[in-house]
Symmetry: D4
Subunit: 164 residues, 8 copies
Amino acid sequence: MSESSKPVAGILMGSDSDWPTMKAAAEALKEFGIASEARVISAHRDPRGLEEYVGSAARRGLRCIIAGAGGAAHLPGVAAALTWLPVIGVPIESKSLKGLDSLLSIVQMPPGVPVATVGIGAARNAGILAAQILSAGEPRLEKALKEFKERLAMESRAKNKNLK
Amino acid sequence: MSESSKPVAGILMGSDSDWPTMKAAAEALKEFGIASEARVISAHRDPRGLEEYVGSAARRGLRCIIAGAGGAAHLPGVAAALTWLPVIGVPIESKSLKGLDSLLSIVQMPPGVPVATVGIGAARNAGILAAQILSAGEPRLEKALKEFKERLAMESRAKNKNLK
Amino acid sequence: MSESSKPVAGILMGSDSDWPTMKAAAEALKEFGIASEARVISAHRDPRGLEEYVGSAARRGLRCIIAGAGGAAHLPGVAAALTWLPVIGVPIESKSLKGLDSLLSIVQMPPGVPVATVGIGAARNAGILAAQILSAGEPRLEKALKEFKERLAMESRAKNKNLK
Amino acid sequence: MSESSKPVAGILMGSDSDWPTMKAAAEALKEFGIASEARVISAHRDPRGLEEYVGSAARRGLRCIIAGAGGAAHLPGVAAALTWLPVIGVPIESKSLKGLDSLLSIVQMPPGVPVATVGIGAARNAGILAAQILSAGEPRLEKALKEFKERLAMESRAKNKNLK
Amino acid sequence: MSESSKPVAGILMGSDSDWPTMKAAAEALKEFGIASEARVISAHRDPRGLEEYVGSAARRGLRCIIAGAGGAAHLPGVAAALTWLPVIGVPIESKSLKGLDSLLSIVQMPPGVPVATVGIGAARNAGILAAQILSAGEPRLEKALKEFKERLAMESRAKNKNLK
Amino acid sequence: MSESSKPVAGILMGSDSDWPTMKAAAEALKEFGIASEARVISAHRDPRGLEEYVGSAARRGLRCIIAGAGGAAHLPGVAAALTWLPVIGVPIESKSLKGLDSLLSIVQMPPGVPVATVGIGAARNAGILAAQILSAGEPRLEKALKEFKERLAMESRAKNKNLK
Amino acid sequence: MSESSKPVAGILMGSDSDWPTMKAAAEALKEFGIASEARVISAHRDPRGLEEYVGSAARRGLRCIIAGAGGAAHLPGVAAALTWLPVIGVPIESKSLKGLDSLLSIVQMPPGVPVATVGIGAARNAGILAAQILSAGEPRLEKALKEFKERLAMESRAKNKNLK
Amino acid sequence: MSESSKPVAGILMGSDSDWPTMKAAAEALKEFGIASEARVISAHRDPRGLEEYVGSAARRGLRCIIAGAGGAAHLPGVAAALTWLPVIGVPIESKSLKGLDSLLSIVQMPPGVPVATVGIGAARNAGILAAQILSAGEPRLEKALKEFKERLAMESRAKNKNLK
């Protein structure tokens, strides 16, 4: 996949209050030269808008969906119900139960409709996972991911100087 | 509301394996002379079928929806998103987490889209709650509910003879 | 139901410290033109006052009860024991266990005595659920609920402009 | 307190299905020569029967109440609201959540109305705790409790022979 | 029991950092005219000091023990192992798990050695429970407890003025 | 991707006791005509074998890894540390904590190293997710996934006949 | 440390019903040629017996203690309070809460008194950990542990033949 | 073991952000005159660095490893997989789940590969446990540990003066 401005990943969230968390997914994708688009579409407040967006996602050229939601977090699962594209779910930390509700609402999907769930609040990891998924047959991305992992190791080692 | 065969409550479940639990809702409604209809409509496997059923529920004369689901239990919440009728959610006991996931996935709904949640596996209570909701301006139902509560007290007292 | 000043919903709480949470229920009801009354009646500190209030609620014209409580949250369940009106329970976030105790104390009711439970701290949703319950045979309320749901969708879409 | 047939402890439970658990409390009391009476009185199905029983308990000579309940377990807390006698709560193991709901519903009481909570299903310990409470100024009971503790130690030591 | 300065209740805690929580027990006892003494005795750091204190408690005139502890909270259980006096356990809110660890460590005692557990951080309730326990055969205390309960109801009702 | 016998997905598990769960992943892949290989490689008992297998996975033509583990479930995370291929984690139900430990050990990965986590025991969903990931630029798979989703809806509807 | 019949590890449990779990610790020690002794000593029922045993453990030649307990599991922590020897704690699976209570009661020890906690029911691992601790300056044990780890890897690999 | 500057304990952590917690382990070791070395080595970002460090630890003279990690906390378990030295695991408090995830990821290890787990955030206890482990056959350390325990008791008693 060459770098381009045409989005191949859709980033969904139920409210703009999730954006401070979810933008880390957009940023991670950008680091890998992957264009994305972000949308507020609540599964509960705008179910028809969600069906419209996700139902046409593959036709419009999207190749994966990242969806973040908190509490009774239905957005990723409902998106997964509406498309055969892989859907990555990000449990948003909720006020009282700290995201345990969000996590269970996203990960415990029934047979036939998986959601690729990452950790609570882990939108950056959702972006990296999307890059891994999109790297198939993409030598440029494959190379970028290898370098990324090497950089992780180097950065980890460099932190030793902060222990003094 | 006079007794009739025209359903006023819809009972939804994601799979026929939930029926042994959910039929207690139908039975409770029947005890109060309330006709209901039961449907398997998975929010995840048949999202468009769900929209069709729930979106037309009020027009077809339904006055409340009872929905049971387990795990990442989205059915009650997605139904609530599609209608202004009251939706009662029944968390079905799940295999590993015993319904804690089902409960949190159903009860922790975002502002604007409530689900009236009952206990884990408590389909009978969902039916009784529906009867309470439907009793407004229905002297027959009101009377039946009062008698029902008196019967509960009498039955509770009668159990004392089993303590010997 | 025409708009009037005669309360049709009673809002109960165990302590005035729950009022900052619970007033969202009163406000939601007011948005739908439904009059309500609020009372502090502790199930534990004033059990006889609770019996008096709830036992006479239907006679006085109330058609549903909203009850909020935290910790070993008995208020909604005890209210449900004392009336055949539908009771909506609001688990108040507790200090140490963040409302998980409140939620389980309210939702896990025994057969025969349901409480329509909403999410932790979700008093606004309790008010909306009450409006849904009270809308039966009330064209004005039905219309207001339909418009409310359309407004939710529009507001959700409007939030997209905040993603930049 | 001399041994007598006049009950000084009341053992309450919400259903006769709790009796196989709760009778261990009666047996423990009997080992200490303390007469008790057992009653099925559901806080949810027979709230007025509960008020009548507990409200007159002290007058009738009871000196403590043991109450067992499961799920949204309100019986011990509601009993504690209705009397100044000490109330011992026994969380009964529930079907789905295994008594975690029962425990939290009983122990997390608000200021002013304590329940002396024992472990999940620990009705025998409730009986022993009642004996400890009733032993004040009762040399016979005091002596019995001392001997009981010595017997516990001896029995514990005797179990070593089973390790081979 | 007449009011006196000779302590009849011992209040134990594992660290002086628990005192801000535990002093509410001493204050509640004082409201009922019951003298108490407070001690820091860690079950883990000073096991022999604990044995000495609790082992001689009954001889020195104490009639119940209140013990607060957090985390792997062993103090109440170990105290209960060392005396036949009733032991009231107060789970102190812990830093990470917010007292769920403290609660389970205190309440889930094995057969033979009960601890009368109150809610997380509920030291005031521990004091009130101690007063209830000590009231047996004490008309003065009995009367004070009855008045206390009436005061609770009145205070609860008075809070209604704060809802405006 | 044409159907072939050369594995493109590796299925890892820590013990052969996980195979009854994990073979559902192999079966799902086979339904989509995707060849896979299964290996027992414990992250804890054979860390060097794991490094060897995963470190060479991409070179050997694998395009994704499915890893199942229970308890302190490190296999998926350690595999993800060793390759830039997408890794799908399956939390295996554990004996005491029923897979809650497995789930948290797999999903809560640190920034930089995501694991695409599915539900507890949901190996079939892991296989389907792998098919979705591998479908990029593969018209045959894309078509198969669309048909699969239509089949899910039809099967869901067909279950209605079992409600009688 | 040469093989001998003089015990260097003490295995404690609160009841003989824990022995089917705990004997795996004795067996693991025996595999490494380490003699151990097993005792039933309840922290709650025989506190003075525990003090006697643990207080003299080092003098009698023991070099570490393994203690298993369930529920409000105080045995490992109380043992750790009574000796400067390393104490390994084994949370025994409990009836209702499945060992979550046991785990938290053992692992969450206060500063100054650590317990080396292993997994729920993991008595075999407790024995292996004891062997690792005792191996310091013991070339025979060091060698045995190295061989043990190699055997683990080989056994793990051999399980692949069971995947067909 | 005489005091020396050659490290005998290695303190590992996944990130320098864990150092404020983990340095308490180094400080505790220093109090006992035990030299340690601290390293940032992420199991997930630098798996080969970890293998190198732990695989050579025994040869370089280390006699135990202390490893702290949070969330899907694999560092202690992976270290334990790579050496026969005893590994002490410190669950670091995580942002959303407060260390419950860290604890379960560390303690629930499979048979054959134990991690000696201490409480959430309890790095000081990890250092003390290491001292207990290293004290075998070291009269100086044994004496220091005995004095340390006596000091704990004295300090505990001294805190009584703060209760006034």
